[in-house]
Amino acid sequence: MMRLPYFRYLAPRTVREAAEMLAANPRDAMLVAGGTDVLPNMKRRQQVPGTLVGLRQVAELKGITNGDGLCIGAGLTLTELVGYLKIPGPYAALRQAAVQVATPHLRNVGTLGGNLCLDTRCNYYDQNYEWRKAIDFCMKKDGKTCWVATSSPKCLAVSSTDTAPALLALGATITLVSAEKTRAMALADLYRNDGIHYLTRQPTEVLTAIDVPRLDGWRSTYWKLRRRGSFDFPVLSVAAALKLAPDGSVEAARIVLGAVASQPIEASAAAASLVGERLTDEAIARAGELAAVPARPMDNTDFTLAWRKHVTRDFVTYALRELRGDDMSKLRLSVARQLV
């Protein structure tokens, strides 16, 4: 059986306590919420924090309100979030993303904050200690080379969060709290295109809340590519949100791709191409082509990178057609195996 290494466990009751604990152990402390990301990583010795600061008992992270926009505590589990978004309205992308994370069991403990901060993934990195030793380790942990592209100066591990693309398409902002200060920022600013330093969050900060603005007149959706109907991380995802004018033309659009780089990628040109247009087949096809351009999948996930690139435009068109009002349920069933 794979075993965790020894660690010290701290159980703060408040965000402030948690932040102080992090501040007191800036080098070796990590937060653990649901544990579905950090614990496997610890068992594989990818992450070996000396101290775990458990957020389970921090009640203030578990709130959710829907008044002037959606305000979600980072400690809400994905199951709770999906349950809350029974009638998601403009936030459909978030529900779609959350309900497709991993498996029911993992969603029962995995939190929204945890999914947003999910460690980047790579076939050369998400391996046991013994395996990584056999390749003399990699840049992200204990080694020097990025084996995905050996001349790469930076780590190419893949952003594999489902909820981030969805929340980015919805224009979310987040709150980070440290012992010194509280800061709010656009969710987009949380991410960096670097497999190692993929978050701008400081190790001493706690992600506490996610705010999604009121989105009157918007509609959104999320499409995920993975081999199987459950368990698998996305190897391509498309989140799209549109605001439609009464005449059916697009007033505003955001398209975000997941799992094609070390951070979620905004397909800004594709989104811009839709503004002022009706969602005709041609406009959708053009947006699909444009969206595929910034997608740079690498050979470090399931499926071949060429094919993942190839189907990017298909997935973008699925999302846009769905937002147009096409019945995509059969295709969604076939691709996502989503039954209910």
Partner: protein, 174 residues
């Protein structure tokens, strides 16, 4: 050796105190320190579903639950499905209808199916499939598992639940 951790929790409706090496997950404590070996493991990384247990009535993977986080909580394992000497209708149906072949993934499936039936009185086949999507089985091809869950519903499994919540707490004190 580092100091042992110590927690008090309720396992299958019985209060339990246990000391264990502090790095252990709930899975390890159940199997190695509480001798409840009915909970299995196939990866210890959250990738197979074999170690599912109910934690405060929700199906979770015990291989990814820190045991130190279980103080004061309620755990139901496969050993807790039998009540008053009788198998749970899900267990009867699984045994009768071929839903258990090697039996290794079975506890995880049963625990997960129980949570589903506690929540929904009459889930559809699709809801059953969704609920069991986090449990891998390599023997059956799942079909006889789905059928067994449906048969258990027919025999009145939904709502037939192991005592839970405050009611059982009261009983323990009595």
């Amino acid at each position: 050796m580092t100091e042992q951790a110590h927690i008090t929790l309720k396992v299958n409706n019985e209060p339990v105190e246990v000391s264990f090496a502090p790095y252990k997950t709930l899975l390890e404590v159940l199997r190695e320190d509480l001798n409840l070996c009915g909970t299995k493991h196939g990866c210890e990384l959250g990738e197979c579903g074999a170690c599912a247990v109910l934690l405060d009535d929700l199906p979770v993977l015990s291989c990814l639950v820190l045991a130190v986080e279980c103080d004061g909580r309620r755990v139901t394992t496969i050993e807790g499905l039998v009540t008053d000497g009788r198998l749970h209708p899900l267990q009867e149906a699984f045994a009768d209808l071929g839903a258990a072949q090697c039996g290794y993934c079975t506890p995880g499936f049963l625990i997960t199916a129980k949570a589903l039936l506690d929540e929904h009185s009459h889930p559809t086949r699709d809801q059953i499939r969704e609920a069991l999507a986090g449990n891998l089985c390599r023997c059956t091809g799942y079909q006889q598992i789905f059928e067994a869950v449906e048969a258990a519903i027919q025999s009145g499994a939904a709502g037939v639940e192991v005592e839970r919540g405050p009611r059982s707490a009261g009983q323990e004190e009595a």
